[in-house]
Amino acid sequence: MLTIKNLTKSYGPQQILKGIDFQVNQGDVITLIGPSGSGKTTLLRTITTLEKGDGGTIDFAGVQGELAHLSKNDIRTIRQNVGFVFQNYNLFNNKTTLQNVTEGLVVAHKIPKAQAKTIALAALKKVGMADYVAHYPSQLSGGQAQRVGIARAIALKPQVIFFDEPTSALDPELVGEVLKVMRQLAEEGATMVVITHQMNFARNVANKVVFMADGQVVEAGSPADIFDHPQVPRTQQFLAEILSNV
């Protein structure tokens, strides 16, 4: 469904992504793990066109082309077919909870207001935020805000939803409510790509785990492969460090 080949990306002299191949199939729940600075976030931001790739190709939603030379239309098509959940929520500060969800439906996807409201309310109900429609982002807790962020993404019925460390900015006691929503989405068959440090989520919910380090995919496979039988020393070392902290 989504195929990335040989993606490269540099900031100045520093190469962040060194030729990444990445494939997402319908219904996949892929977790991206790896040390900070390994390029996970940059990979997500480049696939979703928030950053421009230097090299490599994308095949997604009818767009086939080089990431460095996408037309405005291609970029718009890609953006309209992905959902993105940000680490620090990025809810629209000047909009209510309900408007945060309807905004993209009405403005970008040209769905009539009444219908958009119905879709938005259903999405908010799914994440348990239907009672907060009139609240502004500043009135929500981190966990609530992130659940609205997820509702905003799923309301658009994207082909893939990307999560960029969705629980990293949350207080520990709020992490659970967000993970629960994500787990539920996965069970309903949503296609998801998740950067996370929540190893339980990676192990129990994902069907595929991708370990990245230094701008490269070091190892990829089923959760059992990666967590129980990591082949590459770099992976073993990372997991030993992470799991010893739990």
């Binding site: 629209f92 500060n93 000047n94 500043s138 929500l140 993404a153």
Partner: protein, 232 residues
Amino acid sequence: MTTLALIYKFLIQILPAIQITLIISVASIILGGLLGAALTRAKLSSHWWWRAIANVYISVIRATPAIIMIFVVYYGLPFLIKGWFHVSIEGWNRMYFVVIALTLLFSAPVAEIFRSAYLAVPAGQKEAALMVGMSPWQAFIRITLPQTFVIALPNLANAIINLLKEGALTFTIGVVDMVAKAQMIVANNSGGFAFETYGALALIYWVISLAIDKLVSLVESSFQKKRQAIQP
């Protein structure tokens, strides 16, 4: 007559001219605001020459005292227009010249205010808008601009009050505004009651400034409560 009664009397005489002051101020705020917004765009441009043009313009305008700007526009502009387009604008209503001068003066601080306010809106706001499928223009109009405006409000109020005060120099090229009216009153009284006359004038300016302050803080508080940035 007591001093207070005199101030009241002069107040009533000066007040009709307030419409000149208001027309000039409002026109300059609107035009200067638009010019300021265009300058902000230039300052944020990725092309260095746009940024250079805007920077030079702003530094020149900022360094020009209001009275000099008014004289330069009033005496200089007809000259330039005649030279370039062979059109005479000497017969124009003098208010136009004041509006042009004040528009130029207002645009520079406003450009700086807009720029810093725009940069204060977190980049994630725009990114989130793009990720729900909006075009860059839609993201700007619906998400970034309203937040920029709220952040800019307090400084914008200061700039508007400054403009109002600079507008008090309108009389220097012969437009009969409130200041000119006050001068006439003093002249008619053979230089007498100057304190009471100008006191009445100061009172009017004070009330207008107060009204602007109050209005802005009302608008601000209605936004602020619900629209402040979320702390992750």
